[in-house]
Subunit: 418 residues, 2 copies
């Protein structure tokens, strides 16, 4: 296994050596408890405070609006449960989308068991949330709207700012949350430009460490803590702070922000090559999610193959030295088809054959060309071994999916190989 | 600030260099997402699995009974809320003690708001829980008993095994939880010997990193996850795993277990010197918590000074190069007197003057002697500066607290300086 190419940056990213270097002092010399009052503690407190200021500078918010968590999942859970609990008297209705990460969807399920009504907004064929449906869903009892910034499976960048304007025009008291776990590092996180009251990020998605995330909470947003005990994080999240983790998150976020334009240009070129070429080379392939690069995560290329088991493709790719995924790493073991692809209306025959390639700045065009070379025979081999493989006459007749321009509405947003 | 002596190991501990070394590969080369299925992920998965097996070997449980969390506070919250939610139909009553950490007490407060009844067992003057009160408190609707293994402020080692036997004799279906956050590293964690169904630990209390803990959950203990999303930790705690943190926790726990008898003998000798000598040298001093070393954390020496502000003592000690605390680091900023000392019946005049010295294996007898030399003049200076200092005639008349043998019941377990 000499050559390894990592194309699963949406699952997690390598930790940037500069991030590890920034963390190390807080694992070795500055190990004090930041809540204590002596010398050893002050070093740790300073590291934590500096980290909070750095995160705030990227989000363009106040440092005390940043709550460090153990990751994106906890941040999402805290946002949804925290707001729903705090606002109980005033409302009992949450609006979200059908394609959120399970951290949001399952938090909604738990709240629904407690009597909260949840509206799941539909998406179009490219995964864009239906803003008319959002307008129609808002009611007197709505307390929270949660719309992800970018979808982890289809790369769709949601119109969060437009959604927030609609919500705030209806009622200022309705909180707007965005799960920016997949967007952070790739897209701008200015919380005022987005118009959100809460925003979740996870360090390990942008070359930071695992086990640490953050939730932005706009001042005066009622939030009931979900982990209670000490008075850390201004009583919004108890527990001795993961100082090294917070420093790692902040360092990674700062680097991602400083280097964003260069990183974006680089990965977008690789992405576009994949989006253009892969469907040409593998018969019976559609692109899932947007084709318009401006409305898609710059590092995300996602596909689905007709009548192929995605897992088989992944195992072949692994043997060929390529790490990729079929969707969310959090549901790898699941046998269910992706709720995202189902919500987007991807036809049944494609649902088990999804392939997500998510790029990082350390990937090269040579990596992409290698994949484009090895993938077609791998898929062909799997199809040949399948119990009842459909016959593929030629590339040009590969799919039955129409090729209308994006937004025509009736093609499910799917693109056949052209 | 040349000489620094750290006497606050109950707040947090230095990270053992061997622990950092064990973690580093998971921050650098083995950074994959353990839920993924390719080569990079398998390295991370193996690290996580090995860590879980190591923890299980120390707790003498099955690996799948170990749930990694972001720390002791989350572990406590998960235990209490998780069991209370899962067992809702069968019961609505929790029994705990008046001297638990706030992670337990505040979780109980939150549950009480949801209609759960909570009984807080009293403790005696040394902090030992009243087992007769436990017997009397158990009822048909009791679903959980949570009694800490060792108190973080007074060092009291609670009779957890005896309590568990009482609970199980009453009803097998009542879950027993122990917050072992302060005990881990110092005391045996055999969950069967303790008879507990749930047990919380936090890595940074035993020379591991901050931001990671674990909850032991005995098989078939109903537990509703409190952080939902992916299917990590066998659906008991969602979120991409903090692999480096888990490896750090496991390595630190293994080292603490292997080196426990040597570490314990060393710190207990330092502790005993402090417990014996400090009240002799500082007039108006009592020992808080047990005097019997076998019933006290081996590394914990705690005191209270009459008519002295503990904060002032800590600031003086910090200037003299000593890090110490007045109690829990999680409530450092609080102006309330310690709920632990209040529950133990410590007289009012001592309540603001607590000093907790918690030792580590890197401390030496010279450190202890240094403290014994510098503390008396520091306290004298503070008393001299106080607005209306009481007059201390001589050491022998220092306190009004009686000096009866432990267990006589009417002295609040307090010991005057002799």
């Amino acid at each position: 296994m000499d050559r390894r190419i990592y194309f699963d940056h949406a699952a997690t990213t390598p930790t940037d050596p500069r991030v590890v270097s920034a963390m190390l002092p807080y694992l070795t010399s500055a190990w004090g408890n930041p809540s204590s009052i002596y010398f050893e503690a002050r070093e740790a407190r300073k590291g934590l405070d500096d980290a909070r200021r750095t995160v705030a500078s990227v989000l363009r918010c106040k440092p005390n609006e940043v709550v460090f968590t153990s990751g994106g999942t906890e941040a999402d859970n805290l946002a949804l449960r925290g707001v729903a609990t705090a606002a109980r008297g005033r409302g009992d209705h949450i609006i979200t989308t059908a394609i959120e990460h399970h951290a949001v969807l399952h938090a909604c399920d738990a709240l629904a068991k407690e009597g909260v009504r949840v509206t799941y907004l539909p998406v179009d064929g490219e995964g864009f949330v239906d803003l008319d449906a959002l307008r129609a869903a808002l009611d007197e009892r709505t307390l929270l709207v949660s719309i992800m910034y970018a979808n982890n499976e289809a790369g769709t960048v949601e119109p969060v700012a437009a959604a927030a304007r609609i919500v705030k025009a209806y009622g200022r008291h309705i909180a707007v949350h965005t799960d920016a776990v997949q967007a952070a590092g790739a897209l701008d996180l200015d919380v005022d430009a987005l118009g959100v009251d809460l925003l979740s990020i996870a360090a390990h998605k942008f070359y930071g460490p695992k086990g640490v995330g953050a939730l932005y909470v706009r001042q005066r947003t009622p939030l009931t803590p979900q982990t209670v005990g000490g008075s850390q994080e201004r009583n919004r999240r108890a527990g001795t702070e993961n100082v090294a983790g917070a420093v790692g998150l902040a360092t990674a976020l700062r680097l991602a922000s400083d280097e964003r334009s260069a990183r974006t240009a680089h990965v977008a070129a690789l992405r576009d090559r994949l989006l253009d070429e892969l469907p040409r080379r593998v018969p019976g392939t559609i692109v899932t999610g947007p084709r318009d690069g401006a409305r898609r995560l710059p590092n995300s290329a996602s596909f689905a193959f007709e009548y192929v088991e995605g897992e088989a493709v992944l195992l072949q790719l692994d043997l060929l030295g390529v790490a990729a995924s079929s969707g969310s790493a959090c549901t790898t073991a699941s046998l269910e088809p992706s709720h995202v692809l189902v919500a987007m209306g991807v036809p049944e025959r494609y649902l088990r054959g999804s392939l997500r390639l998510t790029l990082g700045h350390e990937n090269t065009m040579a990596d992409v060309e290698y994949l484009l070379d090895v993938l077609p025979p791998a898929v062909a081999k799997i199809r040949a071994l399948a119990p009842a493989p459909p016959v593929y006459m030629s590339r040009s007749t590969a799919t039955g999916v129409s090729n209308k321009p994006r937004g025509s509405g009736d093609d499910g947003g799917l693109r056949a190989g052209t």
